[in-house]
C-alpha cells in the first residue's frame, strides 16, 4: 500500500479537459463565467505550484522560525478573509479575532502534532503546517458565520436588547440568546460534518492519504483526529471571539453601540 502513482505533466494537461467542459458549458448556456474559469484555472495552477515549491523548501529547511512565520501568514490571511465576509464596520472586531485565532489555532495544532500524532519536534513542518492549515481553513469559515450572525441579530433586535437593559439586565443577559445563536451557527457545520463523514462524503485529507498510498485504516485514524480537532477548535475560537466581540458592541455604560440600519 506504499506505492505512489505519480501524475506526469502530460497527464496533468489532460485534466484541463474538465476546464474545457466548464468553459463550453459557460459558452453554450451564456453563463458569462468564461473569464472567471480562466482566471481560476491560472490561479489554481500557479498558486499550487508555488505552494508546492514553498512546502518542499520549508520541509527541507526544517526551520522553527520559518514554520511559525508560515503559520502567522496563514492566520493573517484568514483574518482578512473573515473581514471580507463580515460587512460590519461600526464595531472593531479584527484585533480580538486575530489574537484568538492565533492563540487557539496554535494550541490546537501543537496539541495534535505533539500529543496525538506524537511528532518530535512538535513543529515538524510536514505535520504542523497541514494540521494548522486545516484548523485555520475550517474555523475561519465558522468564525465568519458566527460574527456575521452576532452583528445582524444585534441590529435586528436592538429595541429588544435595550428593553432588557432598561429593566436591569447587564449586557450579557440582554444579548444572551443572540450570543448562543451566533456560536451555534458557527459550530453546526463542523458537527454536521461529523454526522456525514464516511457515509455521505470522504474528506479531502483522507482521500489524499489513500490516493498517496496510505493504508485506509491509517488514513481514517488521521481523519478522526481531524474531525475532532475541527469541532474543538471551532468551539474554542467561536466562544472566545464571541465573548470579545460582543463586549465591543456595548459601550462603557453597557449601552448598545450598533445603530439600526
Amino acid at each position: 500500500m506504499n506505492e505512489i502513482v505519480s501524475i506526469p505533466l502530460t497527464h496533468l494537461l489532460l485534466a484541463l479537459l474538465f476546464i474545457v467542459i466548464a468553459q463550453a458549458t459557460s459558452m453554450v448556456w451564456h453563463l458569462g463565467l468564461g473569464r472567471d474559469i480562466t482566471v481560476g484555472t491560472i490561479r489554481t495552477v500557479s498558486q499550487l505550484f508555488l505552494m508546492g515549491y514553498a512546502l518542499t523548501f520549508i520541509f527541507r529547511a526544517k526551520s522553527l522560525p520559518l514554520t511559525l512565520g508560515i503559520f502567522l501568514v496563514m492566520v493573517v490571511s484568514a483574518v482578512f478573509i473573515v473581514k471580507g465576509r463580515v460587512k460590519e464596520r461600526e464595531v472593531p472586531y479584527l484585533a480580538p479575532t486575530f489574537i484568538t485565532m492565533l492563540v487557539s489555532y496554535f494550541v490546537t495544532a501543537v496539541f495534535v502534532s505533539y500529543a496525538i500524532v506524537g511528532i518530535t519536534p512538535w513543529w515538524e513542518p510536514r505535520y504542523f503546517i497541514p494540521t494548522a492549515g486545516m484548523v485555520i481553513g475550517n474555523s475561519m469559515s465558522a468564525l465568519a458565520i458566527s460574527i456575521e450572525r452576532l452583528f445582524s441579530q444585534m441590529r435586528q433586535q436592538r429595541e429588544l436588547i435595550e428593553m432588557k437593559l432598561t429593566l436591569g439586565a447587564d449586557y450579557r443577559e440582554a444579548s444572551g440568546d443572540i450570543f448562543i445563536s451566533a456560536v451555534k451557527a458557527g459550530m453546526i457545520p463542523s458537527i454536521n460534518a461529523m454526522m456525514g463523514v464516511g457515509l455521505v462524503f470522504l474528506p479531502g485529507m483522507m482521500s489524499g492519504q489513500i490516493l498517496a498510498g496510505s493504508d485506509p485504516m491509517e488514513a481514517i485514524r488521521y481523519q478522526i483526529v481531524v474531525m475532532f480537532m475541527l469541532v474543538g477548535s471551532t468551539a474554542m475560537s467561536a466562544i472566545i471571539v464571541m465573548i470579545a466581540v460582543r463586549r465591543r458592541c456595548f459601550g462603557s455604560g453597557e449601552e448598545l453601540l450598533l445603530t439600526s440600519r
Partner: protein, 215 residues
C-alpha cells in the same frame, strides 16, 4: 443633569448644549416639545442608554457614570414609546426583570398580584398564560408599564406611555402614574398628551431649540 451636551453620531448640530435640569426626589416632571427635539434623548441619557458629549447626570448626588450600569437601571427604569415583548407568555414578560441579577434581591410578585394588576390596568380579559407578542400595541404599552413598575424602581422614565391608548385608557394610565408618584416615586414623563398628570409635585417643561422652558 449638569451641563449636558449631546449630538447624534455623524451630525454636527447639537441636540442641546450645556443643558441643566433638576428633578427633586418624589417629583414628577413632564417634558413636552416638537418631534425630534431631543425629549427621548434626555430620558436615554438619564439611564445611560446614550452617552453625552459633555456634562453629567447625578442621582442622589452620585454621578451615574460611576455606577455599575445594571445596578443603575434597576433603580432607574425607562419605558420606551414602542413596547417590546419577548417571545413568551404575559407572565414571563411581566417577570422578566426578576430574571436579571441586578434585581435578584427583589420580591417576585405572585400570580394573584399580577392578575390584580392586570385588572388595575384595564386588562381584565388577558390571561397570564397567553402570548404577549400577539397583544395589541395599546395592550403591550400597558403591559410594558406594569413590567417596569413591578421591580419598584426609584425613578421611572416614561416616553410617550399613552401614544397608542384611547382616551379612557390614557386617563387610567395617568392616574396610575399619579398614584405611583404620590407613593414617593420620581417620574420623568415625555408626552404630547394634554391630559397629563397635574399634581402638586408636577412640573412641566418644554424643550425648544435645545433649551428647557418652564410652562
Amino acid at each position: 443633569m449638569q451641563g449636558l451636551s449631546f449630538s447624534y453620531p455623524g451630525s454636527a448640530a447639537p441636540v442641546f448644549e450645556h443643558l441643566d435640569l433638576s428633578l427633586p426626589e418624589g417629583g414628577c416632571m413632564i417634558i413636552r416639545g416638537a418631534s425630534g427635539c431631543g425629549k427621548s434623548t434626555l430620558l436615554r441619557l438619564a439611564c445611560r442608554l446614550s452617552s453625552p458629549a459633555s456634562g453629567r447626570v447625578l442621582i442622589q448626588g452620585s454621578d451615574i457614570s460611576a455606577m455599575p450600569p445594571s445596578q443603575l437601571r434597576s433603580r432607574v427604569c425607562l419605558v420606551s414609546q414602542i413596547p417590546q415583548m419577548v417571545d413568551g407568555s404575559v407572565k414571563s414578560n411581566l417577570l422578566l426583570p426578576f430574571t436579571f441579577a441586578a434585581n435578584a434581591g427583589k420580591q417576585r410578585p405572585l400570580d394573584a398580584g399580577l392578575m390584580e394588576m392586570l385588572m388595575d390596568f384595564h386588562l381584565p380579559d388577558i390571561s397570564l398564560e397567553q402570548s404577549a407578542v400577539k397583544l395589541s400595541v395599546g395592550q403591550k404599552q400597558r403591559l410594558a408599564l406594569m413590567r417596569a413598575l413591578l421591580p419598584g424602581p426609584e425613578l421611572l422614565l416614561l416616553d410617550e406611555p399613552t401614544s397608542s391608548l384611547d382616551r379612557e385608557s390614557t386617563t387610567m394610565v395617568f392616574s396610575i402614574i399619579e398614584r405611583f408618584n404620590a407613593e414617593g416615586k420620581t417620574i420623568m414623563l415625555v408626552t404630547h398628551d394634554e391630559e397629563a398628570p397635574s399634581g402638586p409635585r408636577t412640573k412641566t417643561l418644554t424643550l425648544v431649540n435645545g433649551k428647557l422652558i418652564e410652562t
